[in-house]
Symmetry: C2
């Protein structure tokens, strides 16, 4: 913090008015004479004066700040969402404080405490694996809070989520329409909502097409390429391997592509691979990845929009956004039918 910055008193002295008037002029209050106001603003500008947002916050009770907690900003999904949040916040004169929780419940609690101390006007949470202790704490907060892709089914707060079931159904239907019959689902670690929902969409699509849902074509990975490789290896060792695999997310799909390559299989001719998210890297892969696009930036913007509505007391509700099927090179009809 600048040791001895100017204050409105200094400007007041230079302009020969009271500091109240300076305060008003700087806030563009209609209560002050236009000419004096202009003069005051000119003096302030020439002096390179920056009003103290901290003093202002203490006086007004608002900080014009949102806190955002992510597992790690190095996750491209989080980065895209935060980009949307920052855009929306900034266009309203709000700043965002960013904190990484590292999927560590203790850190998550500390982060939220820190946000409370800093008197943020609202909190956005995108830490997908939040602990339940932490969740309880969130519900008790006086600060409005919005979750993005909330992994807990209870609708205890506001959230914006993708419609996982519909999107996964569409993804699976895409594979079915290409002619696949043995379609595998490579999930994430269990227990969270989006995992459950994506698996459910997969099952529903199979059921709708009167295809059997074989339990050993459903496996859990861990959302890393390595974890996916293991599962795919296992499937490919079978007498009747799947001809297509729908992955929980793009990162798992990267592992599926890698495993196929190691087995000397051609994607999509020998194995179709489908992702979920449409991270920027999906179009850089070889083959490029067919996937479900989550409107990440827009989700960030919408979550921020909810926060603003909550702040001015408007009615609000959680929102569902739709995924979009993006067909690229990694899916095609199976080589031999059935």
């Amino acid at each position: 913090m600048a040791k001895s910055g100017l204050s409105i008193k200094d400007i007041a002295r230079a302009a020969n008015v009271s500091h109240s008037t300076v305060s008003r002029a700087l806030r563009n209050s209609p209560l002050v004479n236009v000419q004096t106001a202009d003069q005051i603003r000119k003096i302030a500008r020439d002096a390179n004066f920056r009003i103290s947002a901290v003093a202002r916050s203490l006086a007004t009770g608002r900080t014009n700040t949102f806190g955002v907690v992510v597992t790690t900003i190095a996750d491209p999904f989080a980065a895209e969402v935060v980009q949307g949040v920052e855009e929306a916040a900034n266009s309203h004169g709000y700043s965002v404080i960013l904190a990484n929780s590292g999927a560590n419940p203790e850190r998550e609690m500390k982060v939220v405490h820190s946000f409370e101390e800093r008197r943020v006007d609202g909190i956005l949470v995108m830490s997908s694996r939040v602990g339940s202790l932490y969740l309880r704490h969130l519900t008790e907060m006086k600060v409005p809070i919005v979750l993005i892709n909330n992994q807990h089914p209870e609708e205890f707060v506001y959230s914006v989520m993708i419609d996982n079931i519909a999107a996964s159904e569409e993804a699976t239907r895409h594979l079915i329409q290409l002619g696949h019959r043995r379609i595998a689902y490579l999930g994430d670690r269990g227990g969270f909502q989006s995992e459950n929902e994506r698996c459910q969409g997969y099952r529903q699509a199979l059921a709708a097409a009167n295809l059997p849902c074989s339990p050993d074509l459903i496996r859990q990975g861990d959302s890393t390429p390595e974890g996916a490789v293991q599962v795919i290896d296992e499937w490919l060792a079978r007498a009747q391997p799947p001809t297509a695999v729908f992955c929980y997310n793009d990162i798992s799909a990267v592992g599926a592509l890698l495993a196929a390559r190691r087995h000397g299989l051609n994607v999509p001719a020998d194995l179709s691979v489908m992702g979920f998210d449409d991270l920027p890297l999906a179009s850089y892969l070889n083959p490029t990845l067919t996937t479900i696009r989550q409107p990440m930036r827009d989700m960030g913007r919408q979550a921020t929009g909810i926060l603003f509505h909550l702040l001015d007391g408007s009615a609000e509700s959680s929102r569902r956004v739709s995924g979009e099927l993006i067909v690229r090179e990694s899916t095609a009809a199976p080589r031999k039918s059935g």
Copy 2:
């Protein structure tokens, strides 16, 4: 901001002491009796009291906050650096305010003004294409500021940068040692320091190996895959196309891989491709990308370390970090010698 949160006065009343004593107890001042301090802290904890960081900041003149400006947090390089910054800041009880400049000079100015108003204790800038107007402003600020991969040669402030020349020399040497003689350099838009330096490292390596430096093997892209594709297309249309190309960064290398694929060329057998950065996606590509690793998180941590030193008046200087050659699949000996 919470409408009517508790203040230290409320805690003081409950503990039957003055608010001065509460303030001291909460700051763990040795000036207060151990038992009373414990009691006060217990009361505060039970009441879920969060001290106001904004009031504290006004009183102390420090906000324990750093401002970070990036072009866009959706850029994986920026995201990794910010991750390092956040870790380092957080471990000292500091928060980070994140702002995207969008490579827009006006926005950049506004962001810095906003940081000044918020009285951040220091600023980190990773907006690589900062305008010069903006730069002048930065030099006049009273707040300590550190640049990461500063694109302007003037050493007007503190910075942490990768040693581009040495790293590019090593990259080019790697290709030479594999037996390549016609090695191309695919640069970025011109005029910035890291572009100049990387090209210089390339030239130096050729010179050291007594290889000619052909001007038409040096082209500028724009750090997008599409831009790279264009340049590569042009080269591949030649009678004597290069057998290897060293790209300004990994994103350009993605374009090089794509172009090679479209021409039916095998990488690395027909064309070796080398990147720079080692973004996470480098190991997801097919083939996986040989590249120079920039220690992005560490650069973030180091930049933050400089800020802390500057804050407590320690001597400091800019720092150069080293790149590391990461050999993967995209480079190999040329098919036919020479």
